[in-house]
């Protein structure tokens, strides 16, 4: 396992934050809603965390909370993906080129 601790973790978070800002600063307004939806999908990665938490839960309470967490996380990922794809499917150019 990779240990991200101390200043190494801070550096990574800082650099990643700049990447996030860079990525979005070039997005045209017409794609803001799909992009918000797309970034919403990306934090659906939380489902992986919820799986790990449930995978290590030992008490019944932990299992119940973990079950809810995994279901919610899966909902985030799947729902986010489907609505983003549906929105993007509709964008067409008048030049007839299949983009």
């Amino acid at each position: 396992m990779i240990e991200l601790t101390g200043f190494l973790a801070l550096y990574i978070v800082m650099l990643t934050a700049f990447v996030g800002i860079e990525i979005i600063s070039r997005v045209p307004v017409i794609l803001h809603t799909p992009l918000m939806s797309g970034s919403n999908f990306v934090h659906g990665i939380v489902v992986v965390g919820a799986m790990i938490a449930l995978g290590h839960a030992e008490t019944t309470l932990g299992q119940i909370i973990g079950f809810i967490g995994v279901a919610l996380g899966a909902g985030n990922a799947v729902g986010g993906y489907v609505v983003t794809e549906r929105m993007l499917e509709m964008f067409k150019s008048s030049k007839g080129s299949k983009a």
Partner: protein, 466 residues
């Protein structure tokens, strides 16, 4: 399964898979920044997600596998069905709903870590608490935003001293969270109190916010969920969560600021005051008369124009008139009229929402322009057709200092030779602010439901062809 392959090799494989997943996420979001590559972008990000989920099953010490698979199945199925069914006008609240789920999932990770009471170091536990707080607020707040936009809760709940009560609940959540870190052994009662207060804070913060400000709030909660995911990623030592969460947290924060700026609503105002609280001028009537015209006459005016710029608003989508409007535009274009669509950053219910609604009707994206691109062109336009929009074309935002919307960037439709405004009735807009555009000399009003009016436009232009 791990008997066949050595643990080290499997670990390497899992870590490499997370690494690839993160690259796919970042490339995916980047590709989503252009309409040409956007579809590939979301597919790539989806592939990354699938990879990350599958390899997680092979992490060391994973138990409760049946529970995990069942939960994955239940959550995915419900989300898939709802996501396929929702209409395009309902997108903002669906984004809010799925975002809330992510926040809730992040909170459960914090909850499990706390209830298990393992002695991680203080930094990790602080992050678990912080992720729990933010995730819970994003969860309950997003659900309230969803309920409001879906029309399940119509009241904007406000009462005297509300901000004080809200602050008290919020401080209570922070206080119990801090206490968790200071008290020995993570008492169950305190953990429960912390989560209840955090969830309550999300509700009370979101309840007083009006519908017009909701996009900003949803975007903010989207960013917050990203942060919560990153924090809980540290708790679980999962780099994919840390990086994906941080990217979304940073990008979402910037997007929130862009939206708030486009609406001329500083974030602090959105969160801590109701719309219209700032100015008393909203009630003053503007002097003058509205000039009314028939839809068929309006259609003929446009048919003989050289250049028509259309400013669609959410009212157009509510009336489901995009398809008819586009049919009319196609007929205009057959006659050689130069037709363009001008979209205000906050048209629809969130930035870019109007573009999606127009795309659904078949309007090509290269006819659609945003405010900065098109504002200079209104001078040369023969006709500006405003349909279902109001505040985003209100000239008071440019000139009238005491107007609640003063300073908001607007589309300068009043610079066109003729302005046609399609409007359901004579009332004021979403914000309740009077619009002098409707009384201007070069403005003519077409009253009626946008769908009916668009139908009459088509008939009007057909009558010319016969």
């Amino acid at each position: 399964m791990s008997d066949l392959i050595s643990r080290d090799a499997l670990d390497l494989f899992i870590q490499a898979s997370y690494f690839i997943a993160v690259i796919l996420f970042i490339l995916g979001i980047k590709r989503m920044s252009s309409p040409v590559t956007a579809k590939r972008g979301i597919k790539q990000a989806g592939l990354g997600m699938l990879l990350a989920v599958v390899v997680t099953f092979f992490l060391p010490g994973m138990s409760n596998l049946l529970l995990i698979i069942t939960a994955l199945f239940v959550g995915s199925l419900l989300a898939w069905i709802s996501a396929r069914r929702v209409a395009m006008t309902g997108m903002p609240q669906m984004v809010a709903l799925y975002n809330g789920m992510g926040g809730g999932a992040a909170a459960t990770i914090g909850a499990i870590a706390l209830y298990a009471g393992r002695d991680y170091d203080t930094v990790i536990m602080s992050l678990a608490v912080l992720g729990g707080l933010i995730g819970s607020i994003a969860f309950s707040g997003s659900l309230v935003a969803y309920a409001k936009l879906e029309g399940l809760v119509s009241k904007t709940m406000r009462f005297p001293g509300q901000q004080f009560v809200n602050a008290l609940i919020f401080l209570g959540a922070i206080g119990t969270g801090a206490a968790l870190l200071l008290v020995e052994g993570y008492p169950t009662g305190l953990i429960t109190a912390f989560f209840v207060l955090s969830l309550l804070a999300g509700v009370t913060i979101t309840m007083p916010i009006g519908g017009a400000d909701m996009p900003v709030v949803i975007s903010l909660y989207n960013a917050l969920t990203g942060l919560a995911v990153a924090f809980e990623g540290f708790v679980l030592d999962n780099p994919a969560m840390i990086i994906a969460g941080t990217v979304v947290g940073a990008a979402g924060t910037l997007l929130t600021q862009l939206m708030a700026k486009a609406m001329n609503r500083p974030l602090s105002n959105v969160l801590f005051s109701g719309f219209g609280d700032t100015g008393g001028s909203a009630a003053e009537g503007t002097e003058g008369n509205m000039k009314e015209t028939e839809a068929s006459d309006a259609a003929i005016t446009m048919a003989y124009a050289e250049k028509v710029i259309i400013v669609p608003g959410y009212g157009l989508a509510v009336a489901q008139a995009q398809h008819k409007l586009w049919e009319f535009c196609e007929r205009l274009m057959e006659r050689g009229v130069d037709v363009k669509f001008a979209i205000h950053p906050v048209a629809g219910r969130m930035p870019g929402h109007m573009n999606v609604l127009l795309a659904e009707a078949g309007v090509p994206y290269d006819l659609i322009f945003d405010l900065e691109e098109i504002n200079a062109e209104f001078d040369e336009a023969d006709v500006a057709l405003v349909i279902g929009a109001n505040d985003v074309v209100n000239p008071d935002a440019r000139s009238k200092k005491d107007s609640p919307i003063f300073g908001m960037p607007i589309l300068n439709v009043d610079y066109a030779d003729n302005v046609l405004v399609v409007k359901r009735g004579r009332g004021t807009g979403f914000s309740g602010v009077e619009n002098p555009l409707f009384f201007a000399d070069n403005t003519q009003m077409v009253f009626g439901d946008a769908q009916e009016v668009a139908g009459k436009f088509i008939q009007g232009i057909k009558s010319l062809a016969d």
